[in-house]
């Protein structure tokens, strides 16, 4: 039976030494989509990918890849992955390493094609261990692609890549997506996720805290802010009663209001006769917005 889902996680929890690395996560990834798991280091992204790949067993919950169990050989033949902290083996040339990995699959891509995809055509004959860090990452990409996978997992793929490698890499990933492959990547750069992914899942402390298209994630996060010093007589409850505010941060008597329409909010604040001093209106940059998204959630937990 064909499942329309590439990846399905239901109520997945992973506990390491009494600490929850992944907390009751539900996630469905459609076939043919490019999805980014976005979150700071230690958010649980690598744990999530490891469980999807069957390298780690969840403490509880259920994971299906292409409708099957990721630990079976039939499913492994249909996926490829670029993992973190993976380097090459010694005394084997680039072409030999790729060919070795090709032999593990029943329908591998041609060596020529893999060299082309990874941009290692000229390096084919040199020892894999002599490659630069970025080139080794690209070799890792060639190995991930060796079996012509239906789902490609990329765990922080561009770490250690120079600008040229990065551009080449994302071009290739975009090409894969256009040929109907499913791509799941992790990153802690919102720009990167925004650039390649059709969907961004924001992860923090093992939970999904936001999920949507890049523009909706940005809209969620990049609303403008109005900051001002509030008169002594105004209470927090009073401010919270003002319509059009999506969040409030306090620093002493200084309040920062988040809103999707700051122009309207400004007029509303004046209508409500809120005493304000030193008014500032700012628009958050992408990363700042991302930080705020995560900070808000952090406050929710406290």
């Amino acid at each position: 039976m064909m499942s329309s889902l590439a990846i399905q996680m239901q109520g997945v929890t992973k506990i390491f030494k009494g600490k929850k690395a992944v907390d009751n996560l539900d996630l469905k990834i459609e076939r043919g989509s490019v999805t980014a798991l976005l979150g700071p280091n230690g958010a649980g992204k690598t744990t999530i990918i490891s469980m999807m790949l069957g390298l780690m067993n969840p403490t509880s919950g259920n994971i299906r890849l292409l409708g099957g169990d990721p630990r079976t050989r039939a499913i492994r033949g249909r996926i490829g992955a670029m993992l973190q902290d993976t380097s090459v083996i010694d005394n084997l040339k680039v072409g030999e390493t790729i060919n070795l990995f090709r032999s593990y699959y029943t329908q591998p891509l041609a060596l020529e094609q893999l060299l082309l995809l990874s941009g290692l055509k000229e390096e084919q004959g040199i020892m894999a261990s002599a490659l630069s860090g970025g080139q080794q990452r690209r070799l890792g990409f060639a190995l991930a692609m060796a079996g012509n996978p239906e789902i490609l997992f990329l765990d922080e793929p561009t770490v250690g890549m120079d600008v040229r490698s990065r551009i080449l890499f994302w071009d290739t990933v975009e090409g894969m997506a256009s040929r109907g492959k499913t791509v799941l990547l992790t990153t802690h750069h919102l720009e990167e996720a925004d650039q390649v992914a059709g969907r961004i899942v924001v992860v923090q402390q093992g939970q999904c805290i936001a999920d949507g298209t890049p523009s909706s994630i940005k809209a969620l996060a990049s609303g403008r802010t109005i900051s001002f010093t509030v008169g002594e007589e105004v209470t927090e409850e009073q401010l919270q009663g003002v319509p059009g505010i999506s969040g409030i941060e306090w620093k002493g008597r200084r309040a920062r209001l988040y809103s999707s329409d700051t122009d309207l909010l400004m007029r509303t604040l004046i209508e409500y006769s809120i005493p304000m001093q030193d008014i500032e209106i700012q628009s958050g940059g992408l990363n700042e917005a991302f930080q705020r998204l995560l900070q808000q959630d952090y406050k929710g937990i406290m």
């Binding site: 069957g54 390298l55 033949g77 380097s87 083996i89 010694d90 005394n91 593990y104």
Partner: protein, 248 residues
């Protein structure tokens, strides 16, 4: 079926290529035993040395080379592959989980065979060691079988993640076992305490068969039994550890 043959063969081929490209292997398993053989058969001479000394020492040094290849080269490679994340990468490929270890053992078995043939050829051509065909065959086979005990020990050491520690331990084991087991110098030249300890070492048991053969003594099969016990012990230990490492 075709898939298994193809992927295993590719794996074995890669192992052979990598081993013969490894300078450390060439030095410890071929150059050093060969040099020791020619040196000690030239230096040690005179009337009190038995006529079979060259053949005796050829067996010692062949064993020494095989121990080095199986213990040092083998264990370090596995440990490095573990720390480099290569084994993790293999685990998510469709390669059957046993294939990695089995191909490695098969390749190492072939390498040990090549080592034994090379050393025997050096002894025959370089030092005119004359033995009957059956003795060459039996001695070679004995050493080859003994090699598996050290492969199993290498596999056990290789299951440790820190390849620097593995390098230190395997080197120390290599040298101490070779000396105590009588591979460097005949056991009779060692203190009696060491001679008693030697009886329990796999290195002594590895040399014991071929030494008996070249001296014209009868083979003592307890040697093979003890080597087999070492093989089983280290295989069980290392597969237990590897299973535990996988189950996270």
């Amino acid at each position: 079926m075709n898939y298994y043959i193809k992927s295993s063969w590719a794996q074995v081929q890669a192992e052979l290529l990598r081993t013969f490209r490894n300078r450390r292997f060439i030095f410890f398993s071929i150059l050093m035993p060969a040099a020791f053989f020619f040196l000690f058969t030239a230096v040690v001479g005179g009337s009190d040395v038995p006529s079979y000394w060259s053949a005796y020492y050829l067996m010692s040094m062949t064993s020494y080379g095989v121990v080095g290849a199986s213990l040092v080269t083998f264990s370090q490679r596995i440990s490095k592959e573990r720390s480099a994340g290569w084994i993790r990468l293999l685990r998510l490929s469709p390669l059957p989980s046993g294939s990695y270890v089995l191909s490695k053992i098969a390749a190492q078995g072939a390498i040990n065979l090549i080592l034994i043939l090379t050393m025997f050829l050096l002894g025959r051509v370089g030092k005119s060691v004359h033995l009957s065909w059956s003795i060459w065959l039996e001695a070679g086979l004995w050493i080859w079988v003994g090699g598996f005990a050290f492969m199993a020990l290498g596999l056990f050491l290789g299951s440790m993640k820190n390849s620097d520690v593995v390098q230190m331990i395997s080197m120390a084991l290599y040298m101490s076992l070779s000396i105590v087991g009588g591979l460097w110098m005949p056991l009779s030249s060692l203190p009696s305490v060491l001679q008693n300890i030697a009886k329990f070492t796999p290195t002594y048991r590895m040399g014991e068969g071929p030494w008996a053969l070249v001296e014209g003594r009868a083979l003592d099969w307890t040697g093979i039994a003890i080597l087999s016990m070492y093989i089983i012990l280290f295989m069980v230990l290392s597969s237990y550890i590897m299973k535990r490492q996988e189950a996270i």
